[in-house]
Symmetry: D2
């Protein structure tokens, strides 16, 4: 019998590709008597970059495990070892409820292994909804503030909760580069179009004007530029001439919330690797 409880952790390795990498890493895990629950790897042959996600179960000695990995991996390697399981997020919103509602439902009733530490809005509109789920709602008006001032206020509130990720659930503000750089690969946004089509304002109206037959939504990490970060999930639905721009908007809401939830599911499971402007989902 095990006197110690088995733990589950996720090891993520990113390094230059080389012969024998899988062997080396899995050997070390084997030596540490860790069971590999799931292992996925990917080599980007264009750039010679190796990515591996290893889900491990056993009794961990993090220090020696990481030291062993460091001595085996080539220079310039990144390896992260995090406990599997529940993550904490802060959600930013403006006035639209659909994405937020889906996250609240899934956090409370299953579907996302996540603790919503707080919801911060630049409008009061969604306070009631959030408080219905017994989660703190924080109002941070942008009125009368510069963009820098407002983003600093937002960051101050966010940092109180030490979240793993910041989720923009239809937060309709452009973020300052300073804000974005504060949370590298930690900000996830839902864009209401099938990027890179219809970047910019009022994408459903743009889509309507162009007469497209499919509309979509894109969940992505936020880098410097709001709509240009690495894409995690995209989803679409067919539309036809009967759809006004408003109909597209209504139908698009379901696509948006599904795409955001599915992206967050993958991110929470530590499956998403960012590489340049692309993501690898292992």
């Amino acid at each position: 019998m095990h006197p110690q409880t088995l733990q589950r952790k996720v090891l993520r390795t990113i390094c230059p590709d080389a012969k024998g990498l899988i062997a080396k890493i899995t050997n070390i895990c084997y030596k540490h008597e860790l069971n590999i629950v799931q292992n996925n790897e990917f080599v980007d042959h264009r750039t010679g970059r190796f990515f591996m996600r290893t889900e491990l179960e056993g009794i961990f000695n993090d220090t020696t495990l990481l030291a062993d990995l460091d001595s085996a991996l080539p220079e310039g390697s990144i390896r992260e070892l995090n406990s599997a399981g529940r993550r904490r997020i802060v959600i930013l919103v403006t006035r639209e409820a659909h994405c937020l509602g889906d996250l609240l439902m899934k956090s409370a009733y299953g579907g996302l292994d996540v603790e919503i530490a707080a919801v911060i809005g630049n409008h009061e509109t969604l306070r009631t909804l959030v408080e219905r789920f017994d989660i703190p709602f924080i109002f941070q008006s942008h009125e009368g503030l510069t963009r820098d001032q407002h983003d600093n206020n937002m960051a101050a509130e966010i940092d109180r909760f030490q979240p793993d990720y910041v989720v923009l659930a239809k937060y309709m503000r452009i973020l300052t580069p300073e804000f974005v750089q504060r949370y590298p690969n930690q900000i996830i946004n839902i864009h209401h179009s099938f990027l890179p089509a219809f970047i910019g304002a009022r994408p459903y109206h743009q889509a309507y004007e162009r007469g497209v037959k499919i509309i979509g939504a894109t969940a992505h990490y936020v880098n410097d530029n709001l709509d240009e970060g690495p894409i995690i999930i995209q989803d679409v639905i067919h539309v036809d001439h009967n759809y006004t721009a408003e109909d597209m908007m209504r139908a698009g809401r379901d696509v948006e919330k599904n795409a955001l939830s599915r992206a967050l599911y993958q991110v929470l499971a530590q499956r998403v690797f960012v590489y340049g402007n692309r993501t690898i989902i292992l």
Copy 2:
């Protein structure tokens, strides 16, 4: 200026097909100075049946309009004239929250033009969720009751609210024929499989065992037999060997809630015609 406000109504006509039907019906509307906002028709050539949905705007004299239609339409015709707009539903639930949650969100924050008069559960599980949205939750335990007794209790509660439709949002009880016949073409169910595959219990486990690569959900009217009614909407997602039965169940929940909401959207808009075991959506 109009001294009277313009009203919007939906005329639904079902009758044996005949030459000149569209002309006759639209002539009558024209004569009544009603504007046709939208008109859709369908002829089932196999059975010679004509279906038309006409969305009208103007000042209505229902009595003379229906009388004019009756004198113009062939024998055996059905015509219904209902005001467009908001409908009232009662939702039946058991323990799963996802479909209910989506309906609550859309009723409160847009997406479905519906008033949820009450939610009735055969378990207490979802009381908190429902009451968070300020909607009455009624607990009707089935314990110690025959199926007839329980269904009678349910019907008594439902009838207090005079709903237009009864929505089964993962209500996991088999209904008696008496109950079903009490609400003809008014009960809408979500079945957690791509019917007619995997009728019966634990469809995701059946799907897993069969090794399918796509799973789905089916929103349908309930006739006598719980899973055999006319299908309104079906939707699917791709799965692969990484999905356990539990993963299918989790992923399936989004498909279920989307299918149910989209079906209800069409039903509320009076677009769905039931014809035998099939639906026509105009």
Copy 3:
């Protein structure tokens, strides 16, 4: 018994919206003892434009039918009466076989009610494939010619066959405005991207670089600008990080050929109405 054979024709009406239009048009058909096999209409409420496709069966007196329509319809109306059934096309190609192959197969073995009068290529590559299906292949090299000269040569060849439509099945040349204007609403193109994303050269490489998770294809009419015409059909598939640009290209070929065939199917059935930069499919 009918001494004369019943004919089937499609009446297409485009006009300013007005009360009683459906009644007027269907009355005239009724008066002419024509049976309405199928009728679909759409009103663009934003611009007050009415579109109707009426599939008729009976014995036609085209002259009096059109005259009756002309006297009933508002000024500025367009009405076209064409026989239903098989249409004739000319296909333009360059070097890629997949779209062409699908059209050849469907023309010969069912799926498209179309006569392929000829295939014209600016390379010889596809001659064998075309001739395998006993269809004339015409080689029109662009080498040493100006764009105008080449397009004139192409047009001269096309016009010998008097086609109803010109289908660009991966014809990788930019057309002159003169060429395009010669065939208004008659040129159908398949673009290898989900327009308006990735307009321009090498869209799969652009898509790869952007790290998209869905790729698509767009079948559209060609107006002045090659990739900017009214969209008929769009289709997509999911891709992931395992796809190189070449994999996207390979997978995209199936999407392209399906989108083009489905668009052509609708066009051949005279279901597609062009209105500004949009299509209405009735």
Copy 4:
């Protein structure tokens, strides 16, 4: 410079799960100085079964490599080492051309790395199409023969070509168990429905009668029972009340041919593992 050319091979391992398996196998590859181009594995935790596909590049000594693997792997392990690249198939057909046509096109013009050694039909219908592509067509009538006799004749013809796989491209005959057992995990069929719905004859008519809103196709291995084998790929399209059974059949053809081609693509790449009645695609 390499005096010997690098080869590419695929190693497929199936064995009881155990700690250190990935390490052991990849160690051996490393020791043999083979480069892992791509590695994918899957553990079925329910049954404790380990599956791994390893794409290797280098100079192979098959005998010592396999011997090393045998001494390292647990008892009851299966390991196969095959060269990557082009495979040979024989296609069986009846009268429908669409799936066959897609395979002919892709074999000749790209999309499937496959040599079609011969097409065998129980009708003459498709001879012309096959011969257009310079591939032998063999007619094997079933008339006047018992099922056993006909299947023996078919097998005799098939075996002349020593194919890697036998593809049933709408071959509308039930196979004898003897025939099926002769080609274990080598027969791939396309079934014109979304299995397990509508098993049996005339699935599109069944689908029409049931009023489904989605139709599909299933590519699968053939075991004893024609429609019950392990599913490789399923695909679907949405339909509505406008579709007659014939329309479903026509639209379904594209789904069928796409599903069959995509399944064959995975099979040819040696990515599909059969495990009980399920497939694992690595």
